[in-house]
Subunit: 146 residues, 2 copies
């Protein structure tokens, strides 16, 4: 095995260059802050963490960066009940999310086999499916114990 590319997270600079945008200090900082977060975070939360870490980043830049990265598919945008928009640095492969309703822990679910059902169901209504996402909510083992 020559490389352990499979699960190794790509470096921020590579992710940015990969989608044809400039690898600025601020964008790298946002990606690194996301990499530190196991779950997800809102734009404002990320801004506050970067500031308290001493990074001189502007709020507008955080919003602009997250929108850009989300559009480019570099990060995932997930919305919780109530409409709160959060971001997360996930694997590049197709996956879904399992979140704990108590502690908001997020786990990626691989092995989605919904493609056929989605295409068929969409076609039954005259639609051509382009994407789908599943959000599973539950209670994690820690919270169940508590």
């Amino acid at each position: 095995m020559a490389k352990t590319q499979a699960q190794a997270p790509a470096a921020p600079g590579e992710l940015l260059a990969g989608c044809g945008v400039r690898a600025t200090h601020q964008r790298v900082q946002v990606l690194e802050e996301l990499a530190r977060e196991a779950n997800d975070a809102t734009a404002y939360q990320l801004f506050e963490r970067l500031r308290s870490r001493g990074e001189g980043i502007g709020l507008a830049t955080v919003y602009r960066t997250l929108s850009l990265l989300s559009e480019q598919g570099v990060i995932d945008a997930l919305t919780h009940r109530g409409g709160e928009l959060c971001y997360r640095l996930c694997s590049a492969a197709h996956h879904h999310h399992l979140t704990c309703s108590e502690c908001h822990r997020v786990v990626e679910l691989d092995g989605c086999n919904l493609g056929d059902w989605v295409s068929t169901a969409a076609a039954a209504h005259g639609f051509t499916a382009t994407e789908h996402q599943v959000e599973v909510v539950g209670v994690c083992s820690d919270c169940r114990a508590a």
Copy 2:
């Protein structure tokens, strides 16, 4: 067949009484406005439509009513990419949503058979699944033709 209860939408008053809240004029108006909308709508949109229809309803009441009805499960709350929170009066049965990315038409998808997959996947990570929702995005026949 004595009744055609199956697909007949319940009257606003019944829906409200059914979850133990008062059937006020404003709540009935919000439900009726939702019933006129085939797709989904934001709180602010519903407020504007009711106002232009001559209903003297307050913005805060619309927000409070939609939150209440959503919590009670009387209406569905769906979030589109970008975090926009919309509401829709759907059937009571478990279902998912298929939306057109062009015209935002919404269709209910019945016959969800994801229960087993969801439980199994959640259990594999130590979670107990409590709910799940699928959002399928595609292009409807009209928009594909255009």
